[in-house]
Amino acid sequence: MTAQDKKEESIESSDELAKCQKEKDEHLDGWKRAKADLINYKKDEAKRFETMIKFSQEAMIRDLIAVLDSFDLAVLALEKEGKAEKGIYLIKSQLEDNLKKYGLEKVLVSVNQPFDPNLQEAIAAVESDKPSSTVIEEVERGYLLHGKLIRPARVKVSK
């Protein structure tokens, strides 16, 4: 083997080595990424699971809000006729208390305060001597579930 041959061979093998080295790095990187992906996925999944539990009841609670609305209207109508019995208030607060345990809160609306689209939805604009865009009347309650607005309060606002 001549010196020339040897030199060529060593160049070849060092090329080979460099290629292997590069591949090795790529593979190790890929492996690390795959492992990290899995660990991150597990973490994400755990988080997702948490929020899922929190909001899995959302659909049902949304349906129950319709019942609460009807209750509010019923109480209002009965009060007008002077027929509201204590029992009906008790049933209503029983339902509200139970839903509260699952994270449902009422949106507090103050009449005569400026309209806040973050928590309220305007369903009518009415004539009033109040400054424009002032809440005149709350016609339907709004609700938050674990701090997330799931139904804005429906309000009438001054023109």
Binding site: G30, L73, A77, A124, A125, S133, K156, V157, K159
Partner: protein, 609 residues
Amino acid sequence: MKILGIDLGTTNSAMAIVEGGEPKVLENHEGNRTTPSVAAISKANEKLVGILAKRQTVVNPKNTIFSVKRLIGRKFSDSEVARDKQWLSFDLKESSTGGVEIKMADRWYKPEEISAMILAKLKADAEAKLGEKIEEAVITVPAYFDDSQRQATKNAGEIAGLKVRRIINEPTAAALAYGLNRKKEEKIVVYDFGGGTFDVSVLEIGDDVVEVKATGGDTHLGGDDFDKRIIEYLVAEYKKSEGVDVSKDPLALQRLKEAAEKAKHELSTAFETEINLPYITSDASGPKHFLLKMSRSKLEELVADYIDKSIEIVKKILQDAKLKTSDINEVILVGGQTRMPKMQEAVKKLFDKEPHRGINPDEVVAVGAAVQAGIFQGDVKDILLLDVTPISLGIETLGGVFTPLIEKNTTIPASKSQVFSTAAENQTTVEIHILQGERPMAGDNKTLGRFILDGVPPAPRGIPQIEVVFDIDANGILNVSAKDKTSNKTQSIRIEASTQLSKEEIEKLKNEALVHAEEDKKKKELAEVKNLAEQAVYLAEKSLRDAGDKISAEIKEAINQKIEALKSVKDGNDIEAIKSKTSELSLEIQKIGQSMHGNGGGEKQEKTE
């Protein structure tokens, strides 16, 4: 750096990204997967976008801008603009360049500036959600958008601080979402029935290029029209029965609107729904309630002309493109309204083809935009492709039952282990019979190999612990080993061709499993019942031996009779007979315990149980 895919819609917008190779729809700040395409400047001089802007529409109609997509990139002199000007609640004027300008609060805006407000919100919400900066986006537009409309949409993106990598057509995005761009030489119809607009496009796929062959639709036909029809119907019905016009009361109308939308959604899965709104209004006689049952067929009747109209439009577009319905290879449904069974049926009937509708029709365009973004991002050209095992792999267990260890569609490499035991007394060898297939009985599946693990120390049945490990590497080579945990004796086998099935073979195996599902279920149940019977006989005989002379000959005799009765049926095929004889025997065995505890012992036994 992630690129955001955005479906900038007429009524609603959505966004998605590709993460880890998978497109994912992002929720906005309010936690919703779609964002109303509405922008406003409130009376308090605040810029509002999305649901917040929508909530104050009633009090601020002049400064609440919606449907801006109908105006973007158009000339003020367009007949479309003239038509829309009639019903839009805000003011429009011609700009110095002949375009449209929109008045919001005290300033005139170009439509792209309004669209930019919506895009900027999406960008900010995506950044908050992902915790990283978003600087680039892919935005979709209707296939019929001309250069000026596309350029204006692109400008909107730039104003919002997004480098628009590409403007793609909405139907193309839908096809991308379903991965149809990889098909060769196909013609696809995209039927997009949105909230306010109806679009149909014919796409042609060839050499990785998606080309729009024809497009059309109705810019004023959508799901909102369906809602309106339902509300009108409800109001009319109520007027007829109660004599009250509830449409005059804003709260009543609001409740009715919600109920109509809910009913529409429910009637996509149910055949009848009840609209129940107590205390909807009141008159001199007191409070009044709203109660009405609505059937799916009633809804279909109410909107039949809309569906017919959409089908007529599809037919006309095909005609213009000189295509027959039979030329179409795939049909995609886009838009929330396409969840309606009647609509799906109409499309299916026209093309005689099951339309694609696996992806949420409200999100499919955003998903497709994200897929395109993913291609730019480089996520999709993932160098590491992982295979799946097409068919389940497992072993034969007691009674000839096939017990899968690696289920079909498991991503490989993968490893699974399970502990098994012996079926007979003092069994010293265990045969591991490795199979592949989807049928519950081993005999119906394909044998891949078998080996024997010997040297298991003699023990009663069910006591030895044999751990079987299936390990399948990235090349589909399966290593199966079995180890007796007491003696640590191990035996293994290497199977090369565990995944080398042709497509046809896989299909055949899966089909067979479907075809034989019923009889297989029976066979497996029979095997399980027989196993239980064996177990009961074994337990009974063991109990008799253990009890010895401690129990009376009568009890022994009774048990023996039951054992014989069970033995006489257990090798037959009468599932019910085996079951009843097994439970009779089990009851009889309990007498051993009762008798050994003597009188009054029964009580004690109950307590300890």
